[in-house]
Symmetry: C2
Subunit: 507 residues, 2 copies
């Protein structure tokens, strides 16, 4: 993509100024319109070192309203960011709907710098590019506008520019609290990295998030090209979102393949809810497993593996009590319980997975989600809080999301706490009668109960479509609280023992 | 405070369990009440190393609703936190009203570890304790409940506990991404740090935020003492906030000292608004000063000094245009413009200074606030958005806040852009007539204009009471835009040249 770029293109100062006088107010106007229409915009600036990225961005943001844009310089990850999945620090920075997020370097620079090792195969980089494609597609599917620029200059030109910077003793603003200098740095080695950059650009240029190569030998030309490209893209997006929404009125086309009986059979129906555990046996086993989990948490920490436990289940299935038994003997410095309620307005103004990122554990830590992102394909689907198109693609999106977490080393276990309707009724009533616990029962609980069958079908679908090798579902028979608690504890302990011992050859 | 503590106190397992069965649901109930009454609670856990802080916290949080508490382990500051003021990372973590923030170690451990140097005088530590007292008083004045625990054990006991931890190979969770080991560590050297800890406890024990010494030889006793202390404190606070608000009906008692004419004379009235600058002179000077500022930003960066520029002024006084000229030639990696509007609900649910912390620049960076925390003593005062008591103490609070910033090395300049009523009217009208700029004028602008005199008095009061050596106000004659822009640029450039050259002996 960089081969036939004409690097002689330029624009005189007077002509540039004349153009800008017209374009700048128009850009400001488009920004305000995008804000009103709640179009989120992501601008990615990449390019050779010394290609003028900072100056290009400064010229671009001057006409913008500072209330609407967020500027992010992407340097080397901080020590704590290094303990999170690669995409985490970018995903957390996606703009609120209507806002513009400007990335001064991005996941692309970091993919090359952090994942590409010249001496090794390119497998790690390729995997990372796959994750990036997941990430960008999820966003553009959710109507985020992504515009990516690569500022291109020639090798000689770069050399001359670097000489000037050194002469004027301009400090590098990147990596200001980064002391490690042992990493490869593609921005300096032009010839060596040219093919890698070509590859990255090719592998990540899709119609939903295309690259624009900017001829950056001349700053005026580059700035004018950037501003006009952004303006065109915003205009197109405004056109798309304000068009009569014909797409939404067309019924979503299911692929219509005949359902295979084995796959559609209800998993839940087959669950043996009579399973139970005696109090004596429970008491002893509980102590034993809590103790083992306590030791395993330190092993997780030593091996820098994150653990994610996801809890879903019927109302009153015992999620809270279950979680309390899990963490009873744990070190609060290593675990965190993240409860999930309805999203607030600010959360709603982002991609639906965004609000779960805050809880993603650092390597060596544990997060327990009390309800999760599966709300998308349960309550949001059933209560029509999202469109059919949205929940239909959510299964894939969730699998991708969990794959990204697993790629980062996370151990993921998902529990569905299963009870029958009678047991729920008994528990609802006993809660209502107990003044200390009556606050736990709300009209919403009764309403959900009335949609038992719909929820059951939704759960079956979830179990079928999102139980993966890297993030399996475990259905827990939860009519008997003791049995349920022990099953969860035991599953976690055994999974950790297996996973953590396997990893260093069984020592 | 630690001298006469009876470390033999203990509680048997059975008695402990019996007590907890009663106390735990009560604590849960109190937490819910505090949530309903919007009481924010800050719990500080300090103590000797191996005194059982983590276990005490875990026992404490088990009965809590995870939706209402936020747990913070305070380790060594990260590299980027090191570039912020000392208190910054704690201040950003204050809880939303109704929430409980639990600090597992806190500003106290960090004050001793980061600020106390055995070989030096204790001046730095003392200064830090003063800041801590500002911080806590501002919060308790704002009805935050602060409860501080120091878990005390004997020297021999500690030695034995540390031996056991080592034997069981339990990793230290503190400082997991901290490689520097050259720092003094008070948690290990009992005798050496005992007097320092005594001093810190004494200097920071006030009725509004007292210390509770916890006899921690016995974990059961410690846990019971912690839970009952918190419960009593919450009950007291509930009593205070639900009492018939007699205090609020008593007119705020001004100290009634006779006003000294020199001090009360209007500063604004004396401003010479006829000052102006010709277009040619402006054009040349603008280029020159923008160029100098461009160079100075790198000098700020090299010397790791943060710069805070605060802009206030009449509507249409030209803040936006002024700021654009300031940043025209700057590197966007080094500056940030932070616009301030009305606080949103989440921001309102915190101390009023909280929302400004996000913008505080790292050392070496620049933040330009377009409107600031002075809204407290302008619009919030005039529109009765806060109580008289609140805005009256805000002058002191703001001075303290800016002192804390200055202590961290920040250069602070505050600009009041002054125009007269006629100029404002002219500009309002010209904006309204221009379709590209008419969005800039809102009914609120006209309403503010109708309260010109009140605002003028408020500004005079601000200039008198908050112009300090470390954060001076500069009144800018802004009827003439060119003059105004040049005065700001010149003031910034000259202040930086003076400050940055002074610092290394004028080199």
């Amino acid at each position: 993509m960089l081969e036939n770029v004409d690097l002689t293109r330029n624009l005189g100062d007077d002509e540039y100024k004349k153009n800008m006088k017209i374009l700048e107010p128009e850009l400001g106007e488009l920004q305000r319109k995008a804000w009103e229409l709640k179009i989120p915009i992501i601008l990615v600036f990449e390019g050779w070192h010394a290609s003028g990225i900072a100056e290009s961005i400064n010229r671009f943001i001057l006409p913008l309203d500072p209330r609407g844009y967020y500027y992010h310089t992407i340097n080397a990850p901080s020590p704590s960011e290094l303990l999170k999945p690669f995409l985490w620090r970018f995903w957390t920075k996606i703009p609120v709907r209507g806002g513009v997020a400007i990335f001064d370097r991005s996941w692309y620079s970091r993919a090359v710098t952090d994942k590409y090792r010249p001496e090794k195969s390119e497998e790690e980089l390729d995997k990372c590019l796959d994750e990036i494609n997941y990430f960008e597609r999820q966003l553009t599917d959710d109507k985020y506008l992504i515009i990516k620029f690569f500022l291109h200059i020639g090798k000689k030109d770069q050399k001359e520019r670097l000489r000037k910077l050194r002469k004027n003793d301009i400090p590098l603003i990147v990596d200001e609290y980064e002391t490690r200098c042992d990493k490869p740095d593609f921005i300096h080695e032009y010839d060596k990295y040219l093919p890698i950059i070509e590859k990255v650009l090719k592998k990540t240029s899709f119609p939903n998030a295309p690259w624009t190569i900017v001829e950056a030998s001349d700053q005026n030309f580059a700035s004018a090209k950037i501003i006009t490209t952004v303006m065109e893209a915003i205009k197109d997006q405004i056109e798309i979102v304000t068009r009569i929404p014909a797409r939404d009125t067309i019924k979503y086309l299911d692929n219509g393949s005949p359902k295979i009986p084995e796959l559609t059979a209800s998993v839940l129906e087959k669950v043996d809810l009579s399973k139970c555990l005696g109090p004596e046996e429970y008491k002893e086993a509980l102590k034993d497993y809590q103790h083992r989990l306590c030791e395993l948490q330190y092993e997780l920490f030593r091996k820098k593996r994150p653990l994610i436990l996801a809890f879903e289940g019927w109302d009153a299935a015992g999620k809270g009590g279950n979680i309390r038994r899990l963490v009873k003997e744990l070190n609060p410095r290593l675990y965190r319980v993240v409860p999930t309620g309805s999203p607030n307005d600010f959360e709603k103004a982002h991609h639906y997975l965004w609000r779960f990122l805050d809880g993603i554990p650092r390597a060596g830590h544990i997060t327990i989600y009390d309800r999760t992102w599966y709300g998308r394909v349960m309550v949001e689907k059933i209560e029509n809080l999202c469109s059919e198109e949205e929940w239909k693609r959510a299964y894939r999106e969730i699998n991708e999301f969990e794959e990204i977490l697993a790629n980062s080393g996370a151990i993921i276990l998902k529990f569905w706490l299963h009870i029958d309707m009678e047991t729920q009724l008994k528990r609802f009533k006993s809660r209502e009668e107990d003044p200390a616990r009556s606050w736990k029962i709300t009209p919403e609980d009764w309403r959900n109960r009335s949609k038992w069958e719909e929820y059951g079908e939704a759960v079956d679908e979830i179990l079928r479509r999102t139980s993966t090798s890297y993030a399996p579902w475990i259905v827990v028979e939860a009519n008997d609280k003791r049995y349920s608690r022990m099953k969860v504890l035991k599953t976690v302990v055994e999974a950790l023992e297996k996973e953590l011992n396997n990893n260093d050859g069984g020592s």
